[in-house]
Amino acid sequence: MAQPPAGAPYQSHATLADAAVAFCRLLRQRGVTLGIGEVTDATRALGIAHLSPEGHRAALRAATAKSAPDLATFERCYDEYWCGAPAPAERRDTDGDGGTGTALARRARSAGEQTDADEPAADAATGTYSHERSLAERNFAVAAEDEVADIAILLQRLGRLLARALSRRYRAQTRGRLPDLRRTMRLMLRDGEILEIAQRQRRPRRLELDLICDVSKSMDVYSSFLIQFMYAFQHAYRRIETYVFSTSLHRITPLLKEPALQLALSRARDTVPDWSGGTRIGESLQRYLADYGSRLGRRTVVVILSDGWDTGDTELLAGAMRSIHKRAARVLWLNPLLGSPGYRPQTRGMLAALPYIDVFAAGHSLDALQRLPRQLLV
C-alpha cells in the first residue's frame, strides 16, 4: 500500500488547513456531505504528530467519513489524494441534455410526445373538480404538458395527506397509556390522597418506510412524478428513507430535505450519476441490503417503485428480494405498467421478484397512489 508522505512538508497550520480543505473538496466532489466542522477536524487530525501511515488514514477517516456508505468513497479519495493513485475515469454518462429547463419540464416534453389520442384530454370548461378528477385518473406517462404542473400540485397535496393519514392511523392502532407518577405526586400534594393516577400518553409506534425508486431510462416518464410524491411524503412523514437507483443505488433522503422542490429535484438528479441510465435492479437492491439492510425489521415497510425491466443479474434480484421480504414487515412493489390495460408482469426481472412481494400495485396515477396507506398497513 502506498504511504502518506512521511515527514510531509505541510507543518504550519496554514498548510495543514490547505491540505485539509483540498482533501475535503475532493470528498465533496465525490458525493460525501461535509461541513466546516469536518474540515476543522480534518485540519486538527493532520496536526497530530507521530501518526503511523495507518493512523493517518484512520484519523482522517474518523473526522470526515461519517456514515457507512461514505467509507468506500473515502478510501478511494484517500488513495487518490495522499497516495497518488490514478483518479477513476469520470463516471457521468449518457445524459447529453445539458439541463435546459427543469427535470419536470423535460419529462413533460417527452411525455407530451407520447400523448395518445385515445386518452380524453382534460376540458378546462368542466370546472376544477372534474378537472382534478380526470387528472387523478390520468396515467402519468400520458399527461399533457399543461397538466403536468397541476398534477405536481396535486401530488404534493396527496403526499402530505397520505403521510398524515399514516401517522394518525398508527396512533389510533397503538393507543396505550402509562401512569404519570410525577403529575400524580403533584395532584396528591394538592388533594392529600391518591384519587387518580395521572396518565401520560404512550408514544405511538410508527412505521418505518423505505421508498426505493427506479430512475432508469424506462421509468423516465414516471420517475419525476414519483420523486415529487416521495418528496412531499418525506416532508410530512419523518420515519422515511428515500433511495433511487438505475445501475447503482443512492440514498437521497438528505437531498429531498431541501425546502424548494425544484432545487431538491435538480440536486438529486445532479448527485445521482446514472439517472436515466440502464437498470440493474438486483445489484441495486443488493447494495441497499448491504448498506441499509440493518433498517429492516418488524416495522419497516419497503416500497419499490419500478417497472421491473432489469438488464442485470436476475439471480441477484431474486436473492435480494428474498432477503428483503424475509426481514421487512411488508414489501410493496408499485409498477406503473400495471396501470396499462393488458399488461402482464412477464419480464424476467418482474417474475423473479413476484414471489417476494406482498402488495403488487400500479402507482401510475394520483388515484393509484392514493391507495398507498391502506396497502402499507393491511
Binding site: A62, L189, R203, S294, R295
Partner: protein, 305 residues
C-alpha cells in the same frame, strides 16, 4: 488537586493501545486512532457496525483500564429525555408526605429524593472532579426526538431540573455512542461526532480475540473456529454470527472437550452460533459442507481392526 481518578488520562495513541490490551480488547489501528483523536479533539465518538463486533465493549474496556466510572445509557424505543436524566423517588416521597407537612412542596422535591439517571450522573460526576466514560448504547433504537434532545446535552452539558434549577458539568465526559443502524442517525448527530465503523474482524483479529478471551483453547481448534465462523458471514442468514458468538462457540467446544470440529459437533452446538430456527435449519443442512469448507475435520482415524 482532585484525587478522584488515580490514573491520568491517556496522552498518546500507544497509551490507548495498551489500555485496551490490558482489558484483553483486541483493537486495530483504526479503533486506536479514532479513540485517540476523539480524546484529542474532545469530541464524542460514534461507533457503528453489525451486531456483536465489540462496539459496547470498547467503552467498557476504556473505562475499566483507566479506572474511570462507566456510565451507560441503554437506549430503547420510547426512551424520553427525563428518564435519561433523572427520576424522582416516588416511594420515598410518599413516605415523606405521610410524615411531614404535605404543603411543603420545596421539601418534597429535595435532592435526596432525586434518582440520578445516566445523563445527570455524567454531569454530577464531573462536578465531583472525575471524568467518567459515558456510553450511549444503541442510539438508533431511541426516537428522533430523543436524538435531538441529546444533541443539546452533548453541546452544553447543562441539565435543568424544574424543581432544582440548572446543573452544569465542570468538564465534558468522554462520550461513546453506538448504533446498529436499524435507522440512520441524523446528520446533526454525525456532525457532532467523530466516526468509527467496526466491521466483522479479519481472520487474524478474530483469532487473536478468541485466544485472548478463551485462553485455554487449543491453537488449531481456535483457528478452525474462526475460519468456520468467517465462512458464515454471508447474507444467507437472518442473523450473522458476531464475535460474541465466536467466543461462545469456542468456549462451548472447550467445555465439551472437543479438540476438532466435525459435522456432529457442529450440529450439536448450532444453538450457540445461531438464534433463529430458520438459520439453525439451514446450517444443519449445510453442516457437512461447512465443516469440509474449512478443512476442520481431523485426518481420518486409522482404520480399526
Amino acid at each position: 488537586m482532585p484525587t478522584a481518578s488515580a490514573v491520568s488520562p491517556p496522552t498518546t495513541a500507544d497509551d490507548i493501545r495498551h489500555q485496551l490490551a490490558s482489558r484483553d480488547y483486541v483493537a486495530d489501528e483504526a479503533i486506536v486512532t479514532s479513540l485517540f483523536l476523539a480524546e484529542q479533539l474532545d469530541k464524542p465518538l460514534l461507533v457503528e457496525g453489525p451486531a456483536g463486533v465489540g462496539k459496547t465493549e470498547i467503552a467498557k474496556s476504556m473505562a475499566g483500564a483507566s479506572g474511570a466510572e462507566l456510565i451507560r445509557l441503554q437506549c430503547y424505543e420510547g426512551l424520553d429525555a427525563t428518564t435519561a436524566i433523572y427520576e424522582w423517588d416516588y416511594k420515598r416521597q410518599l413516605l415523606h408526605i405521610r410524615q411531614a407537612d404535605p404543603s411543603d412542596e420545596g421539601d418534597l422535591f429535595d435532592r435526596r429524593f432525586l434518582i440520578e439517571r445516566p445523563l445527570l450522573r455524567a454531569v454530577t460526576a464531573s462536578q465531583q472532579g472525575s471524568r467518567p466514560v459515558l456510553l450511549i448504547d444503541e442510539l438508533d433504537r431511541a426516537d428522533e426526538e430523543f436524538e435531538a434532545f441529546l444533541l443539546e446535552i452533548l453541546s452544553d452539558w447543562q441539565i435543568t431540573i424544574p424543581e432544582l434549577g440548572t446543573l452544569q458539568a465542570a468538564q465534558a465526559p468522554r462520550v461513546l455512542l453506538t448504533s446498529n443502524r436499524t435507522r440512520e442517525l441524523s446528520d446533526a448527530i454525525r456532525r457532532r461526532c467523530l466516526y468509527l465503523w467496526i466491521d466483522y474482524p479479519s481472520f487474524d483479529k478474530e483469532l487473536e480475540i478468541v485466544r485472548r478471551r478463551v485462553p485455554r483453547i487449543d491453537a488449531t481448534l481456535a483457528a478452525n473456529v474462526c475460519r468456520l465462523v468467517e465462512s458464515l458471514r454471508t447474507p444467507d442468514w437472518d442473523k450473522v454470527p458476531g464475535v460474541a458468538e465466536t467466543i461462545d462457540w469456542a468456549r462451548t467446544l472447550v467445555a465439551l472437550q472437543r479438540d476438532h470440529i466435525d459435522e456432529a459437533t457442529l450440529r450439536d452446538t448450532l444453538g450457540v452460533l445461531f438464534k433463529s430456527r430458520d438459520d439453525m435449519a439451514l446450517a444443519a443442512d449445510r453442516a457437512a459442507a461447512l465443516v469440509a469448507g474449512v478443512g476442520a475435520a481431523p485426518s481420518p482415524p486409522p482404520p480399526r481392526s
